[in-house]
């Protein structure tokens, strides 16, 4: 039971560090210093401590609650070293769908803001979801099929059984590549950053979010980064034998899309869909074909 409290907490702390890492990577690539160590934390505290805050209605508020809550719940489905949480009760498919709850919550919350920028942002975010989820489920299918289980605990056990040679990335390199590609889109980083797009729709979903609303989104971002990194680690990098290797893997995985993000502009919406349906999806299907025949 204590696991269920510790897992989201760990996810949040790791997520904070990932946000910091992302901003530091950006700063390095842009030849500057970047934010101080606890900056993500200060941001969140500051935003929650705002004294007047603007709400557009109950759904606006509940949307944020759903966004945070969905991730808090979802991270308990991802086994950490020494902690299995609810991984036995949920499994991979439930996890994938659980991770859609925050998007839904956010979409509802933004919808109530009555701001066309936000609505366009959500429409783009859902379109992006349609795009990246297809390679994502191909990858999930491939892994689940290969290990003959949708239980993450069993998948990790199978990977850890034989060291690196039995890791998902060694067994299914094509799927691993497709997964990495899909993760870039899942995190909404350039060149797939279509739904924040400040110059077009003024940060889209975030446009009416201030104070604790934005703070909630910042927390959600922490969880999102963690969830993406952890999921990839669990599927392809053998999960965590211990905390040290787990952290190294998770951070290394997340660092890749972050570094790419600062070097590209964003695509148009339909280009994102086309690209993601073309390359990672096809590579993923090819990978599955190799697995099955």
């Amino acid at each position: 039971m204590i696991e269920l409290i510790l897992m989201p907490l760990a996810a949040f702390v790791i997520g904070l560090a990932m946000v910091l890492m992302m901003r530091r990577i950006g700063a390095r690539l842009q030849r500057r210093v970047g934010p101080p160590l606890l900056q993500p934390l200060w941001d969140i505290i500051k935003l929650h401590g705002k004294e007047t805050q603007t709400s557009h209605g109950l759904i606006h508020e509940l949307g944020i609650v759903m966004a945070i809550g969905g991730f808090v719940a979802a991270v308990t489905l991802m086994p950490l070293p020494g902690m299995n949480g609810l991984a036995e009760q949920g499994g991979l498919i439930a996890l994938v769908y659980m991770m859609m709850i925050p998007s839904l919550g956010l979409a509802l919350g933004v919808g109530q803001c009555a701001n066309p920028n936000g609505s366009i942002g959500i429409s783009r975010a859902l379109t992006a979801m349609l795009a990246y989820d297809i390679p994502m489920v191909i990858v999930v299918f491939g892994v689940a099929f290969f290990y003959g289980s949708t239980s993450l605990v069993q998948i990790i056990d199978a990977q850890q059984a034989g060291g690196f040679a039995t890791w998902g990335i060694a067994e299914m390199p094509l799927l691993a590549f497709a997964g990495l590609f899909a993760m870039q889109a899942m995190l909404g980083k350039q060149p797939f950053e279509i739904y924040v797009a400040p110059a077009e729709i003024a940060t889209g979903p975030m446009v009416e979010m201030g104070g604790k609303f934005l703070g909630g989104l910042f927390i959600m971002q922490c969880f999102q980064l963690y969830a993406a990194g952890a999921l990839y680690t669990l599927l392809f990098l053998g999960g965590g034998e211990n905390w040290l290797t787990f952290l190294i893997k998770v951070f290394a995985v997340v660092a890749i899309p972050m570094s790419i993000a600062f070097l590209f502009p964003r695509y148009r919406t339909e280009d994102v869909v086309r690209l993601v349906w073309k390359w990672p999806a096809m590579i993923g299907l090819l990978g599955i074909a190799f697995l099955m025949y």
Binding site: R23, A27, Q30, R31, R32, V33, G34, P35, P36, L38, Q39, L41, W42, D43, I45, K46, L47, H48, G49, K50, E51, T52, Q53, T54, G57, L58, P198, A202, T203, M206, V207, E208, M209, G210, G211, F213, L214
Partner: protein, 244 residues
Amino acid sequence: MTELIKTPRTGETLPVKAGKRTNPLANVFDELVRFAQSRSLFMLHYCTGCGAIELPPSMTSRFDMERLGIQPMVSPRQADILLVTGYVSVKTLKRIILTYEQMGSPKYVIGICSCTVNGGMYWQSYATAKKLNDYMPVDIYIAGCMPRPEAVIAGLRELMENIRQGKADSWKDYYRHYDHYLGHQQRLFGETWQTPTDVIAEARHYGLFGPDTLGTHTALLEQHQRPLEALEMKVDIPELMARR
């Protein structure tokens, strides 16, 4: 003529009691929150005048504001600092007031460039407002035409220091002396001036009501305004209502 920093008050004002903290976190970690507020400032990405040209240098690689925890934000909801960079034309001033009212408190206004102080070199122009603190409380002026990035950052640092010490609370002035600010706005924009934000209701809601919140100008506002109340969620089931 009015003095620079002091806001004119109508009559004697009582020192406003520290309002009841609605925020348990702030109760316990008051200091921490203030520190966090000073270390994390989101400034609004609004280039109101020519001083904005020195903001990109202060934001980007050479001076890098982000190392102080300052980053640009797009919409007023997200922002803490309103940088009024230079002269404000009357048309812009309306938007600045709208934007200012849309920001969440604590919010800080920085008047950059001499034009915000006293009209600057456009003092005889019919189109620009002269004195920003007539229309909204200003925390810090950074004079110069235009101030260098170093000056901007120095000003921001001073603001950070003020926030940390809890001295930067001029945003409360806007609620407590709303009548004063509204009066100046009405003088410039006409009697029918109304922003969508209901400042008086906000002041009541957050306990920031002061003796000078209401006055002759707000009375005028009430005469002219179309009340824009929030659309409260109503469970208005006809049958149940009728039974009551």
